[in-house]
Amino acid sequence: MANDAQARREPADVLHFAGLTLRQWRWLWLALGLATAAALPWTVSNFTVFQFTQVLVYAIAILGLNLLTGFNGQFSLGHSAFYAIGAYTAAILMFHLKVPYFWTLPLAGVICLFAGFLFGLPALRLEGLYLALATFALAVATPQLLKYKAVEHWTGGVQGLTLKKPSPPFDLPLSKDQWLYYFTLLVGLLLFWCAWNLVHSRTGRAIQAIRDNPIAARTMGINTAMYKSWTFGVSAFYTGVAGALGAIIIQFVAPDSFTFFLAVLFLVGSVVGGIVSIPGAIFGGIFVTFIPNISEELATQIPGVAEEAAKGLTWTVYGLFLILIIYVAPAGLAGLLRMLLPRFVRR
């Protein structure tokens, strides 16, 4: 029996740092992270709480992109489209059909799952670069599609739809912002847990085998077409749920919030956090949410730079980070940690 346990010990159980195994460290970090996340709304202003809710929403969307690009090797420059579908599904359900906000999430997710699957079908025949091109086209066309006259009654056209901010249930002693934060946190935890299990399952290994060597995967009997299409679907599911959450927390959807630059934003978050990483999506969410503030702050320090112009510089900063990361740390922040960690651990 003892031998069995010995044989099954993974590196995470063997490697030590300051007296704890890596697995123990992982749990410690998770507990610390959760405690911080739970305590956060009580220590900062309502606006900052809103910003952290935004971080979580972006993190979920970026996680969707990571599953597709990082783990399955399919490019997408068009995830803003799925985010938009999720957001509009939630908005239309709440605005026109008076559906409670929490019910809109599964619906938005499922609609995006099928939208993603359907887009993934023709995309199957498109290798790397061509898929990037097709999804680029999708992202650029999305705002125009959302403004389409025939569906204006439902979508609100250029004006978009304005929603009501949900109140906390059961008379919980929380502000609306605090409640939305906790609600998003719960949904996020559930989705991250599912993603973790998916990646570490048999299916997840098949998905990654397809990325690493599609032909070998096929000869091993993996139905690559089905896996790729469904990965596209699942990825869109995540991003769609994030879109629905985004609509709920901002209480507003309009076509021009879903331009190609939103897709670029997801890409930035994904690359900065680490494309082949699950926790990396959280770094990514934090990065894309707070960089605009920081870069504006810095730019306005330069003499002669107007506030309006400083806002424009945010994208330069994003762009520089994208290029920089490809140069110095192609695996993103998560990869950097993974690379540095072994220097400090011992068996």
């Binding site: 420059l77 290798e127 091109l133 086209a137 599609l145 670029v264 112009a309």
Partner: protein, 292 residues
Amino acid sequence: MDLFIQQVLAGLANGAIYAGVALAVVMIYQAIDHFNFAQGEMAMFSTYIAWAMLNGGLPYWLAFVATVVVSFLGGLALERIVFKPIQNAPALSHVIVFIGLLAIFNSMAGFIWEFTIKPFPSPFPSAPLFGNTLIGTHQVGMIGVTLIMLALIWVFFRYTDTGLAMRAAAANPDSARLVGVRVGWMLALGWGLAAAIGAVAGMLIAPVVFLEPNMMAGILLYGFAGAIVGGANSPAGAVLGGFLVGVIENLLGTFVPWIGNELKLSVALVLIIVVLVVRPSGLMGQRVVSRV
């Protein structure tokens, strides 16, 4: 019938814009085997440089030539500085760097020249050509310039040693080195030419759509559509594809009521996907067999 002809002509006029951009897209694709997603923003940035020169009092054609030269050198430098270090990186890295450049050019243009919409002059007289109003003089001029560029590129690739070396470097870099081709510089040259063509396209487009940092987003999509429809490795195909996309877009917009003006970008989206799935080599492209 009159309406039909009018819309075909208007489509050709728009098509000239797309053809110019498609040509630049294909130039890069031939040189480096990638679609440059920053191509539109590079053209936009070049056009701003031209605008700044015109504003500084330079005569039009001098500013035009200077912009083309500056853009050529800029494209060259971009390859040597930004892309040379990652030449062996996977395709995804390249796409990410393209997107990074796109974001930088877009926001730098806004930062330097502000986001307000600016008029840009046309080099062609404003009087209608042949006294008709079906198609403007600027549009005819644009078609002419696009065709001249195509002819120049064709001659360059077909008859000059440098053009031949570029084709060789793109098709088979290892073999090209064995006949003494400096492959790295051929890539840089491809970037330079693409940037120069983009600059010409940008300066001809700006009088129609006005100058602003986001002027190229939709147009680049049409440019891609033109390149894909024509065949991503055929300059002539790209020009033909560009004109075709312009005409298709206009005819669908006019005669299919539910498409109208509003879904024109989606037409490009559908065109790209359908052509890629049904006939990836486009109308005039050569089929490329990928080896395992």
